[in-house]
């Protein structure tokens, strides 16, 4: 198959699954279609990711709308893996979901239809070679994922879904305004839609009017910040992540947020010749503010999924810092952090399936004493939260060190020092939450052991191996061709 056929198939397959699953006669049939479609989709996406990772930016394969470059490869692989895992744990969630937004009879089909539409748009995002097309795909993710956020149908789920759709749509409206301004500023670079291709923008950036280009960049990044969940425009994030079905929370946190961040990163790299340090300063500002806002919440006794949501705010902040620093070491840290956070955070949300099944009260308050009654669930919680906290030798510990050292390389020692203090405080907060969740007094299971604990424990085993493998290859990343390519182009 050619590159273009593979790129087309990676998007068409989940779209076809979304259409085919609606008339499925039984929930079991919908589950079966889900397993087959997700395996095929992920396989094709991973082949594309491998092609993209092997390419040098100058020789990256390009089609009418896509580019297969190293930056896209990293994020495409992430979206493929998280999507596959979320699809495979979804039946365990749906088995006990009951009636929500949709009737119990049709809920499996509508859940999968929205899920595959969301996944299809997410898979297209790292591939797209054009800022305007990326915006269209981002808006499409909002429509599909908002329905998934409110899938539970409770008052809280509706509130979370409503906040999500309104705030992210407004944010994307601001970004679109910036894109129109940029289209005007890039006049002469190319005609028509091509004017907003990443490569065309990068080649023409030096000739763009600085003031209008800066205004466009600020509007675009401020708008995307709403969707990434950077502080201070993160209000929807804790609510949507805590109320969405766990497999969807995993998609939102581990795949959507980093992928939107990729669009901000590509925009920053393309416009850097026109903006200089101003662009990086904006990203560093968002990064520090996100860390500062997130850390106090990591010290509070929050329900499991809400704790993970604030951890997402923290990690998106770290990634913003890494991209803002922009040195090869910081970029190596960003690549490692995206992968480590994706695996650990997705696992954390999957843990919520057996956890909330056995301890329904944990939806509204912190879980306690899980190790005593549910050792498999406790093991999975430990792998996830210890990694997210940055406990050595997790890849997130290594990536955070790389990003902080990268900041010093860039001459931003004070920023790195402040970030290091905030990260240390965040580590202590998460470590305390993990210990009290595993060993604390007060929590008693309200239901018998759940069958869903075993598959999640198996996933935890696979995740632990993958995380250790990431830590092992981390030392080879600085100076590698991949990081060199990402530092030069970001795609």
């Amino acid at each position: 198959m050619t590159d273009s056929a593979l790129a087309f198939a990676a998007l068409a397959l989940p779209l076809a699954a979304a259409l085919l699953v609606v008339p499925m006669p039984t929930p079991g049939a919908a589950d079966l279609l889900n397993r087959v479609a997700s395996a095929l989709t992920a396989a094709i996406a991973l082949v594309l990711a491998a092609i993209a990772l092997a390419a040098a930016p100058e020789t990256a394969a390009r089609g009418g709308w896509y580019v297969l470059d190293p930056a896209g490869g990293v994020f495409l692989a992430l979206v493929a893996v998280v999507g596959l895992a979320s699809a495979w744990v979804s039946p365990a969630y749906l088995r006990h979901a009951g009636r929500g937004w949709f009737s119990a009879r049709g809920s499996h089909s509508w859940y999968y239809a929205a899920f595959y539409l969301f996944w299809s748009a997410l898979l297209a995002l790292p591939l797209t070679d054009n800022l305007a097309l990326a915006w269209l795909l981002l808006e499409a993710t909002t429509a599909a994922s908002a329905l998934l956020v409110a899938f539970g149908g409770s008052r809280n789920a509706l509130e979370a879904g409503w906040k999500y759709v309104v705030l992210t749509t407004l944010g994307l409206a601001v970004a679109l305004f910036g894109i129109v301004v940029l289209f005007v500023a890039a006049d002469g670079a190319a005609s028509g839609l091509d004017r907003l291709d990443w490569g065309v923008l990068a080649r023409g950036a030096a000739a763009m009017p600085p003031q209008a280009t800066l205004a466009a960049f600020v509007l675009i990044v401020a708008g995307l910040a709403c969707k990434i969940g950077w502080a201070p425009v993160h209000n929807w994030l804790p609510d949507a992540h805590s109320e969405a079905p766990p497999p969807v929370s995993a998609m939102l946190s581990a795949a959507l947020l980093p992928t939107v961040l990729l669009i901000a990163w590509r925009t920053e790299l393309a416009l850097e010749p026109a903006l200089g340090d101003a662009a990086r300063s904006l990203l560093i500002g968002f990064g520090l503010l996100s860390l500062a806002i997130a850390v106090p919440f990591l010290w509070r006794p929050l329900p499991w999924k809400r704790l993970l949501a604030y951890s997402s705010l923290e990690h998106m902040g770290i990634l913003a810092l890494g991209i803002g620093f922009g040195t090869p070491l910081a970029i190596a840290g960003v690549v490692l952090h995206v992968a480590g956070h994706g695996i650990a955070k997705a696992l954390g949300f999957y843990v919520a399936i057996p956890l909330l099944r056995r301890y329904p009260a944990a939806a509204g308050r912190p879980a306690r004493g899980v190790a005593r009654d549910s050792p498999q669930t406790a093991a999975a919680m430990s792998v996830s939260l210890a990694t997210l906290a940055g406990l050595p030798p997790s890849p997130i510990f290594v990536s955070e060190v790389m990003i902080l050292l990268g900041g010093m390389d860039a001459g931003l020692t004070a920023v790195s020092a402040i970030a290091a203090v905030l990260l240390a405080l965040g580590f202590l907060g998460l470590a305390h939450a993990l210990l009290s969740g595993l060993l604390g007094e007060g929590g008693r299971p309200q239901r018998p052991p759940s069958r869903t604990a075993r598959p999640v424990a198996r996933l935890a085993g696979a995740a632990a191996v993958a995380l250790l493998a990431l830590s092992a290859i981390a030392y080879a990343l600085p100076g590698s061709d991949l990081v060199e390519a990402l530092t030069r182009s970001g795609g």
Binding site: A143, A146, E159, W162, V165, T169, L170, A173, V180, F183
Partner: protein, 205 residues
């Protein structure tokens, strides 16, 4: 687009901030879209594809979307008008300050028409202010549409226009999001008994 027409667009935006009836606010947004659509049609001139795209956008933004919202309003009857959190004077004052600040803070954007630039920025700011200050879900959707109308004003003022694929793509996404938002409005009304989003305050840390 003439400065007078842009002033009318902004006045209609202020109207959405001020009025209490959802039906009237929907009409004001439809009037905004109609005015913008006519301007887009006249600027498309002899360009056949551009003319057809502008016509389609006019039909959807000025008629189809307001009709969808009118149907949503009929399916979500309110026992009485939702009491606004602030008086009409304070809402108008805040809207004025937001619009002026947005215009003052935005540098020249490079269009040949500064009035269109200022009008577009003001409408974007107004739309955000409407979402922040109005409680009924349907009025918040209308706030999004006011902001989108600001972007459309900017888009039709771009020399040579935006590529048709972007204009139609944005239109498709707008229809998708407004449809989802309308579905949410009905669900919220079914759950809470009113479209007042102030009653959705269960999620706090």
């Amino acid at each position: 687009m003439s400065a007078a027409a842009i002033a009318v667009l902004i006045a209609l935006g202020f109207g959405v901030m001020a009025v209490r009836r959802r039906s009237l606010a929907t009409l004001l947004v439809a009037a905004q879209a109609l005015l913008l659509g006519v301007a887009a049609l006249s600027s498309a001139g002899g360009h056949r594809a551009g003319f057809l795209a502008a016509g389609l956008i006019l039909l959807v933004r000025a008629f189809a979307l307001p009709l969808l919202l009118a149907l949503t309003r009929r399916r979500t009857p309110e026992p009485g008008l939702v009491a606004p959190a602030t008086t009409v004077v304070s809402r108008t004052l805040v809207a004025t300050v937001v619009a002026l600040l947005a215009v003052a803070a935005t540098p020249a954007l490079g269009l040949a028409d500064p009035a269109a630039e200022h009008g577009a920025v003001a409408l974007l700011g107004l739309g955000i202010a409407i979402v922040a200050m109005r409680r009924p879900a349907l009025l918040q959707v209308l706030g999004i549409l006011v902001a989108e109308n600001g972007i459309y004003l900017l888009a039709i003022s771009v020399p040579g226009g935006l590529p048709i694929v972007i204009e139609l793509g944005v239109l498709f996404d707008l229809v998708l999001v407004v449809t989802v938002a309308a579905a949410f409005t009905q669900k919220i009304h079914g759950e809470v008994g009113t479209g007042d989003t102030d009653l959705l305050r269960g999620l706090r840390d």
